[in-house]
Symmetry: C2
Subunit: 539 residues, 2 copies
């Protein structure tokens, strides 16, 4: 399906949906995506796409989005500080509506440090969202030009495209000369929190030579990004000099870019990381903008062979130490996790992170559960992401089919996001999130009742579901036919079940035993009907 484009970004609602807003007591309006159903009913879902899917909003990337949160608070305090003081902020109220929980519950989770609301006071365009184990599992999409690619508009479109399909946050990992300008465009046009890795820009300033990095240069870079409005920052402050040798016998050594930069600096100077030695000063800077720490796992495993090793867990211990320091400063914190981990070693990562880091939200990259499928690492990692998500990981960083091989294109970004929405939702179901199963049931009912268009529109990707169906049965009538394209009209069922059910309802039978008592009559009715039966979909 074609979508209109304004200033090179995708706008207009997702097929079958409209934008709606829920008004709160204090007058906030919280966006939701409303899926219309053919039976006249509708189903509302969490909406990450921002104003781009609202036809009533004029989009101009040169002007940026409306600064929703401007003036929500004049004081320079963090969500953590407010929460500790028992104050429910508008951000908390906004988030509560999105999640379907009470604002007080949101406040208490933030106060405990079990959840973070990453909203830099200088990024008023962002719609507040929450990351924590007791909320919907979130998905992050990494974007970032390599030096050679793409206009700034293209970078903005990548962000819009990722959030359209469900990315809850976006990390801008751009490198190269126009890094500041690119980030500015993304921030002014982003409805979701933006994360960065400041060490990348700092390295640009010293021509890519890590040993030339200094605390002062790094600090100034962080302040520059805080001023712009970056909502959370990856800081690899846990890569200590003494941990570097622990990677010597690994199969794949250090695979984190930031981790290897800091390891290189430590080796070059044979001194402790300036990120570690100046961590308290860093906390003071982030606190004054309410920027959230994403403490990076610079020593994460790059292969299943290296999973859960001494280097990885030594760093995690240090991240725990830093978490408590950051909290003393009133700064929100989440913790980054692996990487590559076989299924049986995944749960241990969550348990250890929660114990060492005081239940700070865990934010993992996959993990990939096997190394043998390059070109399919969105799948090898979705298996691990769903598993680590169900055990309590709060946000999943997506992996695209191009991982390890090349730069993701537009299709790869969509595939990565949809795949991770699946993993996040599978985890939500396993955790028993109150709202999670409603959507599964709505779609399953539509499937069972042959409401094809409802089935498409309730799915994560209506365009592709419809396209696959049309490959076999293009005709429009097929969308309302009471059979499945796999088996054809003669060979379709669930009808048999509908008969059983109808019978039960007609006779108001309240127990299955009672239904059973009616089986004889049932079988006669069935014989009268010419014993017609249809065959179902799956075998």
């Amino acid at each position: 399906m074609q979508t209109p484009v304004s200033d090179q970004v995708t706008t207009g609602p997702i097929e079958g949906s409209t934008k709606t807003y829920v008004a709160t007591e204090s007058g906030l309006s919280v966006p939701m995506r409303r899926i219309a159903l053919s039976n006249g009913d509708h189903f509302d879902v969490y909406d990450t796409s921002g104003p781009y899917t609202d036809p009533d909003v004029e989009i101009n990337v040169h002007n940026g989005l409306y600064p929703l949160r401007r003036g929500w608070s004049s004081e320079h305090r963090t969500q953590l500080a407010w929460a500790r003081d028992g104050v429910i902020t508008r951000e908390m109220e906004f988030v509560a509506v999105r999640e379907g929980v009470s604002a007080e519950f949101v406040r208490s989770e933030v106060a405990a440090g079990r959840a973070v609301i990453p909203v830099n006071r200088n990024h008023p365009e962002a719609e507040p969202m929450i990351i924590g184990k007791n909320f919907l599992v979130k998905v992050n999409a990494n974007l970032g030009n390599s030096a050679v690619t793409s206009s700034v508009e293209e970078e903005v479109e990548k962000m819009v495209w990722a959030t359209r399909w469900g990315a809850d946050t976006v990390m801008d990992l751009s490198t190269g000369k126009r890094i500041h300008e690119t980030r500015e465009w993304i921030l002014r046009n982003s409805p979701v929190p933006i994360g960065t890795v400041p060490i990348y820009q700092a390295l640009e300033k010293v021509d890519g030579e890590p040993e030339k990095l200094s605390w002062e240069l790094y600090r100034d870079t962080v302040i520059e990004q805080c001023e712009q409005g970056v909502d959370y920052m990856t800081v690899h402050a846990g890569v200590l000099l003494r941990y570097v040798p622990l990677t010597a016998r690994r199969v794949t050594g250090i695979v984190s870019r930031g981790g290897s930069i800091m390891a290189a600096w430590c080796l070059a100077h044979h001194r402790e990381s300036f990120l570690y030695t100046h961590f308290s000063e860093l906390c003071e800077i982030l606190r004054s903008y309410d920027v959230t720490f994403s403490l990076g796992d610079g020593l994460r495993p790059g292969s299943v062979a290296d999973a859960n090793d001494r280097a990885q867990f030594a760093e995690l211990e240090t991240l725990g130490e830093l978490t408590h320091i950051a909290r003393e400063h009133g700064v929100q914190v989440m913790i980054e996790g692996p990487g590559h981990v076989p299924m049986h070693k995944i749960k241990e990562n969550v348990e250890l992170e929660e114990r060492l880091c005081g239940e700070a939200p865990f934010y993992t990259l996959g993990p990939l559960t096997t190394d043998i499928a390059p070109a399919y690492d969105h799948i090898t990692s979705a298996i691990g992401a769903a598993e680590i998500g169900r055990h309590g990981t709060a946000m999943l960083c997506y992996v695209t089919p191009k991982e390890h091989l090349g730069l993701p294109n537009r299709d790869d970004v969509k595939t990565g996001v949809i795949t991770y929405k699946i993993a996040a939702h599978a985890a939500d179901l396993a955790k028993g999130h109150p709202r999670a199963q409603e959507r599964d049931d709505e779609l399953s009912k539509a499937r069972f009742e042959f409401r094809w268009i409802d089935q498409f529109n309730l799915s994560l990707d209506p365009d592709t579901a419809r396209a696959y169906h049309d490959e076999t049965l293009p005709a429009e009538p097929a969308k309302t036919a009471h059979f499945c394209s796999m088996c054809g009209p003669k060979f379709c069922s669930m009808r048999i079940t509908q008969d059983v059910r109808r019978y039960a309802e007609e006779h108001g039978l309240s127990t299955v035993d009672a239904i059973e008592a009616g089986m004889q009559a049932k079988s006669e009715e069935f014989a009268e009907r010419g014993n017609q039966v249809y065959l179902p979909v799956v075998e």
Copy 2:
């Protein structure tokens, strides 16, 4: 990459591999796929592709494959009967080499009923393979024309294509007039065991009217298929009359085709299923050909809402009862499982199946862990397949992206098979299969040492991995470049780790502490090198 085609089927080795054969003491030759490595070494992997990937074998689908197993045994006994008598058959010996275990271990697992070797004596073309929790997790691919499609050659090619990418068995679910002929072609050309659902053909014989089915007609159909050489058969003998009402209040009722046929028959006649009442006779027929039962779950859930409900588990209890009857008759048995199950309810399925069915091999369809992603159900189900596999499921029936929407094409079949090889391998890693991690480590080493072509060839899909890499860096030299296409020459590392490692090795440091002692010297050496550092792949 183009592959030559003979008689419309794909032949020739997979990119980067050659066919090799391992000779056993008793003179059997067991096929393996040998992956050549650029360092002169090689890595052998389990090979399901049969003679089609051996350039020295002339393929003619009209003649069929060489009958490998003809004359291996003159007696009409089952692998189970031999195993119980302490006899190691050639099939067991063949399987032992493929799995890298002792033949005696194979025998003991078959004798215990924990594993099956599905080999009809009338399918001598098949290469023996084993299905059991203590062996590599297997993958089945469902094929089957809808009445309208495809020549018989096309059906054979689908089977060849699926086994090329790793399908361990294939189920022929064909319907329509040419069902017998199609199956004959597939059997004579298949190097893997073929499974069927005889009730489909039986229904064709009564013009699709279930109530016209009879034991006699079904029995004759089963004998016809046994004679042809079908290796295992799905029998929905657990769908009892009294269970049908248990589906009345389900969200998606009965979704198994065979299950609804038998439910319809039971309702029409208000009698118990003839599959259940004549089960012992059925056992005698299967025993005389050594055809393996795949006891079907006709009441499996068709949505996460219906998972683990009374209908599903009531049927499973009956399957347990039938398992013990079949074993008394010396017939091999596996048990089919769901379907649609949320992650937190998956483990219970395996535990219950093992307890009720005496650890008979479990063979599951997915399960899908959420219903909200039609067009991506290979992924929603790969998550469940990996999870159920790690808990002991022996074979995973693949799901393609077209599930619920349409008929899979050639690309869908490949995507489904590769996706399920990932799930099976992730489960093998989690179960600690001795051979599983070797391949991950080989590929990770290749990745770390920038042996790009080795990385492609060691992957599950060398063609796609190479194609994705070439999108960014097409030039041939890039295949040997010591950097990654994501970051470019200046921005690539692991180099730092290689330095750390090289240092450790040069100094013969045996402990990490000792390495640490050498850090000062290390930092000087690093400074001399101009402090050059590269940035790694993933962030």
